[in-house]
């Protein structure tokens, strides 16, 4: 590793709730340095009171997402070379979520919406029944398989302008989750899912701007999942609903 004598100028959000401001740190530059490495360096060597969240460091757990230069990103898999401009980085907590402290956003509203969107499995069998055999080759299963790769990082939720402007909106991740359950033949009540996504904060509020799909670090397509829900709810409407 080679350290850059100038270092990185990093503006980090400090504060709780709605109060706060950016604080600048000078961080040594290293080879293959990620945004999470930068935040960890600040916490370990400059200011141990800095709060942030991470767990796996390899892009699996979805804990470490933050706004980097105004864009939501998974910080453990984002190299600074990809995002740095004029040797300055700006790191802030995820957009569209309340701030607990510094870089740690309160994820409760995000996960509450997963439940509100019908993201709860409705079983068709109990523990005494044999496990249902599901063919991996059906179009429904292939479509659902893409959606279940979501790591719940909330990058799409932070990227979504509809979430920012419409307090009721369930958001891309929760709706994508609902779509994967709707496609699952093991779910006993797909109608309940369509009802859950047809309310005032449901899939019909999406403007298809596509920020969710653009920023998803796993390359998923929540906008397509929402379009699928719109299609199915419209079809259910013409069939007379439930």
């Amino acid at each position: 590793m080679t350290a850059d004598s100038n270092g990185l100028h990093v503006d980090v959000w400090r504060g709780s709730g709605t109060e706060g401001s950016f604080e600048r740190f000078l961080v040594p530059m290293q080879e293959s340095q990620t945004i999470l490495d930068v935040v960890a360096w600040i916490q370990q060597y400059a200011d141990p009171t800095l709060s942030y969240r991470y767990a796996c460091r390899v892009g699996m757990c979805g804990s470490c997402a933050m706004m980097v230069n105004g864009v939501p990103r998974w910080t453990c898999r984002t190299h600074i070379k990809k995002v740095i401009k004029d040797n300055v980085l700006t790191i802030a907590p995820l957009r569209n979520l309340p701030v607990i402290k510094d870089l740690a956003a309160d994820m409760d509203p995000f996960f509450d919406r997963w439940v509100a969107a019908g993201g709860v499995h409705h079983p068709t069998r109990d523990r005494n029944d044999a496990v249902e055999q599901i063919s991996p080759a059906t179009p429904e299963r292939i479509e659902a398989d893409a959606g279940i790769e979501c790591i719940n990082c909330s990058v799409c939720y932070a990227a979504c302008d509809t979430v920012a402007n419409n307090v009721d909106f369930l958001g891309p991740a929760a709706l994508q989750r609902a779509w994967t359950l709707y496609l699952d033949p093991k779910d006993a009540d797909p109608g309940a899912i369509l009802d859950a996504v047809s309310g005032r904060g449901g899939c019909h509020n999406c403007h298809s701007q596509g920020s969710c799909t653009l920023h998803c670090p796993n390359g998923l397509n929540p906008m397509k999942a929402i379009a699928g829900l719109k299609r199915e709810t419209v079809s259910s409407f013409f069939r007379g609903g439930r």
């Binding site: 509809t162 402007n165 009721d168 047809s198 309310g199 005032r200 019909h204």
Partner: protein, 109 residues
């Protein structure tokens, strides 16, 4: 803010508006190219059930469609919500309906 009912009302009214808009544009081009005077146009539209139904339906679809669209814009840009948002939507729709029907009646009665 926008549930399935409102979404369907806006999409269905849009589908009604597509042929009516094309018909309206065709009529405008025809009227201008033919050099019809206001009196000649009124002579054709007054007492016509066809034109009353055509433009009456158009006004109805526009009132529905635009009121729901304005509801979304006002909620997302000005933050109006709840009952106030519902009242705004109904008033906007009613205003479009009344002024539109007044114009339709003026040229077809």
């Amino acid at each position: 803010m926008l549930d399935l009912r409102l979404y369907m009302a806006q999409r269905l009214s849009a589908m009604v508006m597509i042929p009516l808009t094309l018909g309206h544009i065709a009529v405008m081009i025809y009227a201008i190219q033919d050099g019809l005077s206001a009196a000649e146009i009124l002579g054709r539209t007054r007492g016509s059930v066809l034109w009353f139904v055509f433009y009456g339906l158009f006004v109805l679809a526009v009132s529905l469609h635009a009121a729901i669209g304005l509801r979304v814009i006002v909620h997302e840009t000005l933050g109006l919500k709840g009952r106030a948002l519902d009242i705004f939507m109904w008033l906007a729709g009613l205003l479009l309906l009344v002024t539109g029907l007044r114009a339709v009646l003026a040229v077809t009665l």
